[in-house]
């Protein structure tokens, strides 16, 4: 049995920042990461970040990951284990994990769950053909491993992920035939959309996939226009000879472990799916379990980092190891989050967060 003060699940931006903040308190921190490399989604993000200096704006995602890892490596009380998947949470506070192929039991005093999110899929004829990928999978293949998915791609979804991955496909030498977006408006930042348009990629709003075809793997994709009730309009079909279809239709929080641990959960569409109730300190309905990043509600990497720091500070406080300036630091996190959540996308997220918020007085049990 492994004993630790704090268990951090996941080494993405949220988990790494939580470990840095809690590690500074001197408590023992164990980070378990499923992948063979830490960094979460950051390691495949080649573009510069928005936000402010505190969230490493104008730095590329993969460089942010190595800055955070350097900080952790300098702390002897923080231990990171990769190839380690947390499997389950038990009522008595025990957690289990597959660590390098071995089944292990862990007894932590506190937990920060920073497991990130899962890419959503869509059901359409041919959606299970090899060659139909989550956009994040293609980003992993190209940017982390330097391998192309294939040669001719169609992107589904013009949110930030769809737009950014389309641009990265072009950078890697893949032809992007079209970007289809179901809603009438482009969801992502217009700077990203403009880059694609300048490179001649059509962005078709109010369009979606009708079907994907192929004998053994993807050979063609048919798109069609949608009416204002999101029904396909016969006669508007366009078929592309494509060997790759990337699905970028959103993410849902990977919150199963929290569910299993007994945290009170709520389905919040604006946050991507089921999320735990949490208070302003990112503490769930269970006093020793904290949540941060996409697992708390799908947003982006900048807010995941700030949430990670906040959850790490709160966990240190719970473990009676709060730094002297904890109040100021928490307030700083809260004001950074408020700033990141301004704007029209932020408004929707803030409304979603309000639903899952544990209000001090009311309490949740």
């Amino acid at each position: 049995m492994i004993k630790t003060d704090l268990l951090v699940i996941g080494a993405g931006p949220a988990g790494l920042c939580a470990a840095v903040a809690a590690g500074e308190s001197g408590k023992d921190v164990l980070i378990l990461e499923r992948s063979h490399t830490p960094g979460g989604q950051l390691v495949k993000q080649t573009h510069m970040f928005f936000g402010s200096e505190k969230q490493h704006a104008a730095t590329r995602g993969f460089d942010i990951a190595s800055i955070l890892l350097d900080k952790l490596n300098a702390m002897s009380n923080v231990r990171m284990v990769t190839n380690a998947t947390v499997l389950a949470a038990y009522d008595d506070g025990l957690w289990t994990a597959d660590i390098l192929g071995k089944y292990e039991k862990i007894m932590p005093q506190a937990v920060v769950c920073a497991t990130g999110a899962n890419e959503k899929s869509l059901a359409f004829p041919g959606c299970d053909l090899p060659g139909v990928y989550g956009a994040g999978a293609v980003q992993t293949l190209m940017n982390q491993y330097g391998v192309l998915p294939a040669e001719r791609a169609v992107m589904l979804g013009a949110g930030n992920i769809g737009l950014i991955v389309s641009y990265q496909l072009l950078q890697a030498g893949v032809k992007v035939l079209a970007v289809a977006e179901g809603s009438a408006r482009i969801g992502g930042y217009l700077v990203h959309a403009a880059k694609l348009r300048r490179m001649g990629v059509p962005i078709m709003t109010a369009h979606t996939v009708k079907a994907a075809y192929g004998k053994e793997s993807l050979e063609a994709v048919t798109l069609w226009a949608l009416d204002d009730k999101w029904q396909g309009i016969p006669g508007t079909e366009i078929t592309y000879r494509a060997d790759t279809l990337c699905v970028a239709v959103g993410l849902s929080p990977l919150s199963e472990l929290l569910w299993q641990a007994g945290c009170k959960m709520l389905y919040v569409p604006a946050l991507g799916g089921h999320v735990p109730y949490r208070d302003d300190n990112l503490r769930t309905s269970l006093p020793h379990i904290f949540v941060a990043g996409d697992a708390a509600g799908v947003e982006e990497a900048s807010s995941a980092m700030v949430e990670g720091t906040l959850a790490g500070l709160s966990a240190a406080e719970y473990l009676n190891a709060a730094p002297a300036d904890i109040k100021e630091r928490k307030n700083d996190c809260l004001s950074q989050l408020a700033q990141l959540r301004s704007g029209h996308v932020g408004e929707r997220i803030s409304a979603g967060l309000e639903l899952a918020r544990i209000k001090e007085a009311a309490g949740i049990c």
């Binding site: 499923r34 063979h36 190839n83 899929s121 999978a137 293949l141 491993y145 294939a150 053994e216 793997s217």
Partner: protein, 101 residues
Amino acid sequence: MRINTHPILEFKRGAAVTITFDGKPIEARDNETIAVALHAAGIRNIGRSMNLHRDRGLFCAIGNCSSCMMIVDGVPNVRTCLELCRDGMTVETQHDKGVLA
């Protein structure tokens, strides 16, 4: 196909290793996952659906969806998008729920 020149990225390729996929030798690197090495060799059909036996490819590449499960060194249900290549590794298509040898 492996990317050789990229405007922003430089890829640190690991040591060359050989794995076998359904009996065929495949050149791979020790810092890439099995699914990545198969992709680089042009093999995108890696998983199989259990009931209809339809081919499956990568969907998430980070261990969430189970669409890439294969038999690796005799062990079934290995998520090949997470498992790194090792020299001499045998990788086989899995056609059923899997049984431990």
